[in-house]
Amino acid sequence: MSKKNDQISRARGARGKNSSAELLGSNSEIGRKLKQYYDELVSTDVPDRFANLLAELEQAEPSGLAIVAETKAEG
């Protein structure tokens, strides 16, 4: 039993070493730091300017109108 588990853990280790997906898994300090770095950026407050910009864009050119305008121009 113990031998079998040993083999499994060794197989897991080998897979971890060879597969790139595992390279940045939770076992990797680099992987953990990378997520910490990024999560901190993601959770930064978003300035209002972006919501305002989208509202302006929508007002200037509601979705769908662009396509209609293009079609008209072509026809």
Binding site: M1, N5, I30, V42, F50, L57
Partner: protein
């Protein structure tokens, strides 16, 4: 017409990720927000070319990335390639307690060439698959894999982490647990 609010709401929801990616790429908060703004405008103009049901986040990341590289070219800044000049021999040593400080990590990331940095961010932090990352960067899946692996080695080297996969506490714990369970 029905689509309009949804698209705007979807764009809004994507902004935090877009900003994180933009900062990771440009390493500059102001430039990052300009990139995000430009991306939103472009996305709005191109919304007819977005296929509903496909990955909006990947589509937006592609636009942002293209914008970033085109701005770099306009500024006459040469895009760093992987074997470029930034092979800083500078090693950042983890603080006394041996734990890797986030600030050190940030500095180390900054030393990476852009292509490696974006690859490791897309795969290791933004949650994209290798296939999606390859599509975003317009290159082969194998190229992304090798960039990620080079980025990781470079970070390990700079941060003075040696073969953590083999000798890290997790690996040892796994071994101990593996052999003691009966």
């Amino acid at each position: 017409m029905e689509q309009a609010p949804t698209f705007r709401v979807d764009l809004l929801a994507a902004i935090p990720s877009l900003r994180a990616f933009a900062v990771s790429l440009s390493q500059n908060a102001d430039r990052a927000d300009d990139l995000v703004q430009e991306t939103l405008v472009k996305a709005w103009d191109k919304q007819a070319s977005f296929q509903p049901g496909t990955n909006l986040k990947a589509w937006l990341f592609t636009i942002l990335r293209n914008e970033f590289y085109s701005q770099m070219r306009k500024r006459g800044r040469e895009v760093q390639d992987s074997d470029g000049a930034l092979t800083a021999r500078l090693a950042i040593h983890p603080a006394q307690h041996g734990l890797l400080d986030l600030e050190d990590f940030r500095k180390a990331l900054q030393l990476l060439p852009e292509d490696q940095r974006e690859a490791i961010i897309l795969i290791g932090a933004s949650g994209f698959s290798y296939e999606e990352a390859a599509e975003i960067c317009g290159c082969a899946v194998g190229t992304i894999k090798s960039r990620v692996s080079r980025a990781r080695s470079r970070l390990q080297e700079v941060l003075d982490i040696s073969g953590e996969a083999d000798y890290g506490p997790d690996a040892i714990a796994t071994q101990v647990m593996g052999s003691s369970v009966s």
